[in-house]
Symmetry: D2
Subunit: 476 residues, 4 copies
């Protein structure tokens, strides 16, 4: 429920052959991608080369009301973005999409991912006289694309050549006066898929669930390294970068993505069901019921129940009204916040041996409280099962994992963690297990990035990565 892990954003783009209400479509799509980022959001509409922009801090329904969408007006291309919420201060100027004007006209970019050579690139442009208004990678990308745009004959060619400079994880949608371009990094760290609306408009999104919400048809994922260019007349692919080994973030399956999304040919829900099944195989235990921690532990709990035959139960009710904005009304109440968010269904738990499934343990604090709630409710035994391996390494590709000091698996052995959280037994999904998530045949599958579990990074990573990597020394 509160893993302490944050995805960096979701993107969406639409290109129609005619002028229509692309802003409303983008709005509905961002709603479906909201789980990928709750700090800020934005939409840019292109009406015959005129860009209209609105973005702000807040959830999609907070930032956009009907009048705001009407002000964005009609157009034939639009892109949108949702951005994640860190524990620190949110910053309005980092909201996306960004809109810049360069020598060839206006350009808007929305980005999901993280560049590993951002610092290096930034230095390079600053040395040439560039000024930076934000601390996000997207502005750096805008410089790289702009630099190429001056030498190339088209925006798509500029993106193609820019990609030789961009290292790391990026799923991009880029809008120029005439075109909508989607691009995925050569390792395909982050998801990006394409589809079409019933009126023929081309759509791109971080996840296929966005297409369902606008009644569009999912066509396929972009290949790692693929660039797709859409304009009023046509859609075409550039595959010059499609040669790298895929390294898709396995944590998208485990936690980030919505269960109803299809990614890389596998339904996220199925992957989680499978995680539960493998968990059972790897860590069987006698128990009376299986329960999941809402919401992201539920699917794996169901899978574990199916594999084990132990009845699935609704162990908790999650308070649907506790959003980003839960405020501790007083110091005294501080310890009660888990209690307000989650409540045990006592009759389902009391007197039972419970297998409790969650997607991850980051600091251990929340997990410990949840186990304690079960004990208070009368659980006889609590067997914790985690649907991924222990986090032991930082992510450089867009997941905001806590520092090593805060990662419990860097500080304790598994038995120690089990003891710390107060469980009777504790089982993590193995690295082999997590590799099999997307494959029903249980064969070790290539193409997943599991560096946060293994330390085996698919591409070279910087030795050090400061928290505020650009030391902008600017707070907002």
């Amino acid at each position: 429920m509160n893993t302490g892990l944050h995805e960096e954003c979701g993107v969406f783009g639409i290109c129609s052959s005619h002028t229509t209400d692309v802003a409303a479509t983008t709005y509905a799509a961002l709603y479906a991608l909201q789980h990928r980022g709750q700090e800020s959001c934005g939409i840019v509409v292109n009406d015959q080369g005129i860009f209209s922009l609105h973005k702000d801090l807040g959830l999609v329904p907070e930032v956009f009301d009907r009048s705001q969408i009407e002000k964005l007006g009609q157009g034939n291309i639009s892109i949108g973005h949702v951005r994640y919420s860190t524990t620190g201060k949110p910053s309005r100027s980092n909201a996306q999409p960004i809109v810049v004007r360069h020598i060839k006209g206006p350009m808007s970019i929305a980005h999901n991912g993280n560049l590993v050579n951002a610092y290096h690139l930034r230095k390079r442009y600053e040395t040439k006289g560039a000024t930076f208004h934000t601390t996000n990678d997207t502005e750096i990308i805008s410089y790289v694309v702009t630099e190429q745009r001056m030498k190339r004959t088209s925006i798509e060619e500029a993106v193609e050549y820019a990609m030789y400079d961009l290292q790391g994880a990026y799923s991009l949608v880029i809008m120029s006066s005439q075109k909508l371009i989607a691009a995925r990094d050569p390792n395909g760290f982050r998801p990006l898929c394409m589809g079409h609306c019933r009126d023929g408009s081309i759509v791109f999104a971080s996840e296929s669930c966005a297409f369902d919400s606008i009644d569009a048809i999912f066509d396929r994922d972009l290949e790692p390294g693929e660039i797709v260019v859409a304009d009023k007349e046509s859609v075409r692919s550039i595959r010059a970068h499609c040669r790298k080994k895929k390294a898709f973030c396995v944590f998208e399956y485990v936690y980030f993505a919505r269960p109803d999304s299809m990614i890389e040919g596998c339904c996220v829900h199925d992957a989680r069901i499978r995680a539960g099944k493998i968990l059972w195989k790897e860590h069987p235990v006698n128990a009376d019921v299986v329960a999941g921690v809402p919401d992201s532990g539920l699917d794996a709990a169901l899978g574990l129940s199916q594999a084990s035959g132990i009845p699935y139960e609704v162990g908790f009710v999650k308070n649907r009204y506790v959003g980003r904005t839960f405020i501790q009304p007083s110091q005294k109440m501080r310890t009660n916040s888990v209690r307000i968010k989650l409540n045990v269904v006592k009759s389902a738990i009391a007197g039972k041996r419970v297998i409790l499934v969650d997607d991850s343990i980051v600091r251990g604090t929340t997990c410990r409280r949840i186990v304690s709630l079960l004990r208070e409710a009368g659980a006889k035994e609590v067997h914790m099962r985690i649907s991924c391996p222990p986090f032991t390494n930082p992510c450089y590709f867009g997941v905001d994992i806590d520092s090593k000091e805060n990662l419990i698996a860097c500080q304790m052995t598994i038995p120690e963690i089990c003891d710390h959280i107060g469980a009777d037994t504790l089982g993590y999904l193995s690295v082999d297990g997590v590799q099999s998530l997307t494959s029903p045949e249980m064969k070790p599958q290539e193409g997943l990035c599991m560096a946060c579990f293994t330390g085996d990074y698919p591409i070279p990573v910087p030795k050090e990565m400061p928290k505020d990597k650009f030391e902008m020394k600017i707070r907002e």
Copy 2:
């Protein structure tokens, strides 16, 4: 997900022997009761006879931030209220608790229920020169209690004698300068329970889940007709009205209450599991999976799966960010709103025969769209099961059921409804079945109000009940 049925409110009260942050406690408790009303909410704090009040339209976290709670200050008694949201215009002046001053001092009341003789009572007071500021029953109750207060020696005695005049459903918390009083109508239509905090404070709430959220201990339900009086020194019961037959609203089990609440000795979750089991017994069918409509159909679906052995599946993902405020960005998108709120997990449904469980069918519109989503997702068959009987009669006890013209079960036979919603088969829980919800032994149980299914009202009801029953002719 959108039954068109609305509960009229949730109440909470706390009485401590000492001055403490009762506002913060009430705030946390209202959070847990938020499902009972999302239109408006309020808290009144009593600090040595001085009442501090804040209420407004909006959810608990919208109306109360930390500074607002700090402004309410410390006290030894506090009451709170959440109020439901109709499709019509919400009205700020109807927000509760109401605070009035009468001859013996200030009094604050929060109320859940509906009086059947409200019109009559109002007339009576108006004839004596009373003026009314709101259209809610609570103001009428304040007059009845005030009238008695002038003749009686204490507020509790006033409440006791007032109850001879109040007919219908009411669960009340009433705060005077010195006392906190909780009272439940003699039929016990609406829930009301009591408990205590670890510091000894007495608490009352519509549902026990409110106690869990503040780490209080549930003691018991108030008996129908019972009055409980708490002050700094003591707690005592008045049972003068405890002779009527209980007629607890069965729909609290089916839909309104939170699954983790204990009501009348039965866990709501268990009642729903049982509803699913009985549904299977009454309407068996060959199928591949069982799925529930989130959130209130999920428990019954699990019960049906347990009884039938047909695998339980997660059929839908509900968008957690679509709150009260979902705004259709344009006319064209109007039909898409179910699509944005609910999405089918295709891999769990495609090619399968699905038993779909929901709590009720009101107009049939939403149900029809949901069945259609399953068909689009490739369901081979859709067997609809409803965990209560068809609604055919208005409720006079606090449930805002649509008019007969809008109730599909008043307009069509069950086969016609089945055809209308596009299901292969349709089965409702029988009246006998719903009677057995709270009892594992499946014996017909006394003490439930099922008038909305049977027309058999436990007390006389008015012949006609205008929508705006007081014809206040005031809009806000």
Copy 3:
């Protein structure tokens, strides 16, 4: 600029023969009356007996935007109210107009003034079982009118008889299903005038400047004690109470009313010019320039300049953007707030002997700072002239004068005050002088209430008047 004196409200009403946008007209009129109250405001529209209401804390443009006015809709009668801002916490539930329903239908009341027998009346109704939702006099008035309404054949007759019970200052507009009624207390403490729009609609307002803003024609003041009844067909007067001696609040001329308003046959601007002239006569002094404290001291300064021949100068620039909301950004800056609100035009003041004119001195704090600003700017001499006599007595008729302890004139002699504020000389307008304000012939004029200067109250006043006179013990 900040006298510490507050008027209690402004009222407006319109009655048209046809359905039209009375809400928009009331909105524009309230704008012109905003100086009479900046705490809260409200509008009620009557569309064939259906009342639509909106009121809230804030200025007119803050509470009403276009959509809010559109929601109020069309109608043929409307009333509006602006309420003053005290230094204490503003209370939403005290906002007006109030809307109540009594035995004969809905009624809405807006009130300017203060009842001297409010406590007594309240007691009387409470003893009969009444409950009170607010602490304002308006709710008491609603009970008195309702009581009479039960015995009389019309609302106007009810108002007529109610007036036998109401003692003190009141200018009322009252709206029933069919009628608009304006009533002024028999002493005429507070202003109330009537006029007509170009389409024939009848309008009532606290001040005639409201008519100018809606392009209506001023007809006349209501006589003290007069009741005027308007409906679709006719307008008629009831003069049963028109026998008392007039006692119009002289401070309306000195400070409250807008200079462009005509009251009791005298333009407020002219009265202030005359105050300046008399001041000169009573307190001549050699000087180089005359300057007024913006805004309410400017007219009297001009008059003094005209009488004396000493050049009028713009001594200060007032910051037009410092509204109700000026916030001290830090403790350290606290002393600077006068400096931010007012700045001396140095070139007009430096090296000069200055006569400085203001409308009143309440606590002396602000006055002392202003004199100090002039000294800093190089004024050689500062001769303070005040366009009314010293305040030495509380007002029971609607002016919120500080307690005696805070009134500097109750604590010090005039020479001591002169010394305290740092002026070279200090002259107050005499009681004789203030009596001549409205009359060019300088003859002592009857019909003014000057009790705050003389202690000679036109009607009996209560011995004690608690600050929160009803001891509601309710904070909001």
Copy 4:
């Protein structure tokens, strides 16, 4: 009251030797500069090289509350900005100060003025790969300074060399990690002055009234072309650009600046008094009273009265509550907006021959309505006097004058204008007269830019100047 002319901004900067609440000081100073821009505002605080920023659309008290100022925190340098409001859509991304990071660290800039070679400069940087996030000149200036910063040893040297590239009007405050720099263009088109606080802090502001509001001492204007550099230890001037002829905008005296400001050795109030005196000399007429249009016509009216001996009168009351936000509640009311903003004091006007003084006539619409209000109020004659010559030429130096088609003086002769506005006579201040504004000896004074009246531009101006000069094609 609504000239249709807008100043482009006000700036403020403070540099202290120690860490203190510079944000609060900047806040108070911006309050005093609010008249120079009401669209947006911002403050940046420098705490040992860390910049904290807040800016948004709205007035100073709307954008900044106490918590916002506290979040900005302490520091030793701070700059602030207010921006004007056009009739078009305000844009959040154009709010200032802008904060960028370049190769040598963070930099923040606030700017008042307008570059005439902005288009050319922008092109130059875009050709080198620059991207632009805004449409304002300030971002261009940031590139020019950054380019120089790479070649120079200090930020002040960078500013000095950047000024060789900047053509047009600019008054700048620039903050680096260590320094605060103020710079004024070599013609000194816009005002910029310096002073010091009582604790020794150095302050810069567009107008001296900002110093008064923070109790700082005005020292002097910056010379045209002067750069002043302040840091913790010292203050020093760079005068490399101090050779051009001064061309200070005369309209600052006529309309923009606050009367209490000292600019170029002349108090603005005195200049306006003098304008009124010259107006009388140039256009005498028999009349009974002189009145000014609030607020900017008042001083000249007083001057005209002094010169002519015709009594000065308060002709109008301006509604102080009609701010930026006046909303026409309905179409029907559209014509009433002048009426709501201004009301005639009838007793001062009726039956009189009136000389009415205003600062300018732009389109003539407002002027026509005001004359008509006077006629309705019974003025026998209306003699319009304007305290500057007719506008016939666009301004390229920071005043947002309407297009020629909208300037009435480009479309009509003076008699035609007089006829159009309905006045009996009309007299504009002559060009010779406006030249004498700042000089008591009435000698033609050098050093003023009067190009909007004469077409005689002090520096070369672009042939064409598109409304959206950069064709950003971006709306927000």
